[in-house]
């Protein structure tokens, strides 16, 4: 119990048979007016759940390993580049971003801002109410679903349009690289990310709702970029359908 929160509002007069001992400012520090706990002994149920999870994970990985071999290509040759050359799948989102703007913006500044935002989430939304509930409430759930759908539609369109009409190539020699590779992609990205927040702002959201929308935009965008880079990029790092890659290239060989 935080001592500074203890307020002595009444003197402990000897003539009184009651006194105020403490003021509880914030639930659920004290279990006042609560019914019986809805708890069970951890043993053996938790131990059993964990045992089942261990067995399940080991079995799944064993089956996968019996069926699919880890890829191994020919020995490394520093003079011959593979086509395409891809980073591990979890960095394909970054590599896909690189296709749409200057590397410093796309691979360093935006990802750093994203990690910084993710780290700061609990300090931006520090209201303890509603913890431990999926999406906090029904409104949170519908906000999340709407935002996810928005990103799932707009990001693939952006990736496709930007690859078909890349400002980098169209404006080469017309405008400085700083404009075509930093300013223009930066503005487009900012608009895509901030648009849902602007719409949301008219409904007087609380901090949790802002976090839900912003996190969903970034999280789903990261998934879209990763999937595009991993599955839809073929030889020459051009866009192809995964089942229609030229030269028999199979993106899953890169796992």
């Amino acid at each position: 119990m935080n001592k500074s929160r203890v307020t002595e509002s009444f003197s402990r007069s000897s003539s009184k048979t009651y006194s105020l001992v403490e003021l509880v400012h914030r639930a659920p520090t004290m279990m006042v007016d609560h019914g019986p706990e809805n708890t069970v002994f951890s043993f053996p149920i938790v131990a059993l759940i964990e045992l089942v999870l261990v067995l399940g994970v080991v079995m799944a990985l064993l089956w996968m390993s019996l069926g699919v071999n880890a890829p191994l290509e020919e020995i490394a040759n520093p003079n011959q580049t593979t086509d395409p050359a891809k980073a591990p799948w979890y960095f394909m989102g970054l590599q896909e971003m690189l296709e749409h703007g200057h590397p410093t913006l796309m691979a360093v500044v935006l990802p750093s801002l994203m990690v910084l935002f993710v780290i700061l989430i609990p300090y931006l939304d520090n209201n303890p109410h509603g913890a431990g509930r999926w999406f906090t409430n029904q409104r949170g759930r519908s906000l999340t679903i709407k935002t996810a759908l928005y990103v799932l539609v707009i990001m693939p369109i952006y990736i496709f349009l930007d690859s078909t009409f890349p400002p980098r190539e169209l404006l080469r020699g017309v405008l400085p690289d700083l404009v075509s590779q930093v300013v223009i992609p930066g503005i487009i990205m900012s608009v895509i990310v901030l648009l849902p927040l602007i719409v949301l702002n008219r409904q007087q959201p609380n901090a949790r709702e802002v976090m839900l929308v912003l996190f969903t935009v970034l999280f789903v965008s990261a998934i879209v970029f990763t999937v595009t880079g991993f599955l839809f990029r073929g030889p020459g790092f051009k866009l192809f359908l995964p089942w229609n890659m030229p030269g028999g290239y199979n993106p899953f060989m890169n796992l």
Partner: protein
């Protein structure tokens, strides 16, 4: 005790601060040692001077790949230039595409002309170059330090 005789800082505080300062210095030393220890020995690319060939092997307009140094000797009008094969985009090895008369990186489609200047693709700057030393009609290339540049300038050429 009189107010004026009280020291601004007590003996205990002074000793604590001294210890704290010493610890900070010690930590700084440890970090310095760690960084010095981890610093790679050869800061350059492939190493020291690499022999590329006789001057007459590089006629004007030619592009020659020197495997031992992983660079190209190009000869635009005005002199020789050594271009590192490492793509400035993501480090792939850039091959010279004879048919297209340009450097064409297969990884992400960056294109460079004979001077190493970007003419297409995502590469942010021209190919890095190495400095050339000409001794008795022999072309030597210092591969220890790649030189970054933002555009082509005739001063980058070594006249022959």
């Amino acid at each position: 005790m009189r107010q004026s005789s009280r020291p601004k800082i007590t003996r205990a505080q002074f000793l604590s601060l001294t210890w704290l300062g010493a610890l900070v210095v010690l930590a700084g030393e440890a970090v310095f040692m760690l960084i010095s220890f981890m610093k790679p020995k050869a800061s350059g690319g492939i190493g020291g001077l690499v022999y590329a060939g006789k001057i007459e092997e590089f006629p004007p307009g030619s592009v020659n790949y020197i495997l031992s140094g992983k660079f190209y000797i190009v000869h635009p009008a005005g002199g020789l230039m050594a271009l590192w094969q490492r793509c400035t985009h993501l480090g792939c090895a850039v091959p010279w595409a004879e048919a297209e008369n340009q450097f064409h990186c297969p990884c992400h489609g960056s294109l460079f002309n004979q001077d190493g200047v970007v003419i297409g693709g995502p590469a942010p700057r021209p190919l890095d170059r190495f400095s050339i030393v000409i001794k008795d009609d022999e072309v030597w290339v210092d591969t220890s330090k790649p030189i970054e540049r933002s555009n082509f300038d005739p001063s980058q050429l070594t006249p022959v």
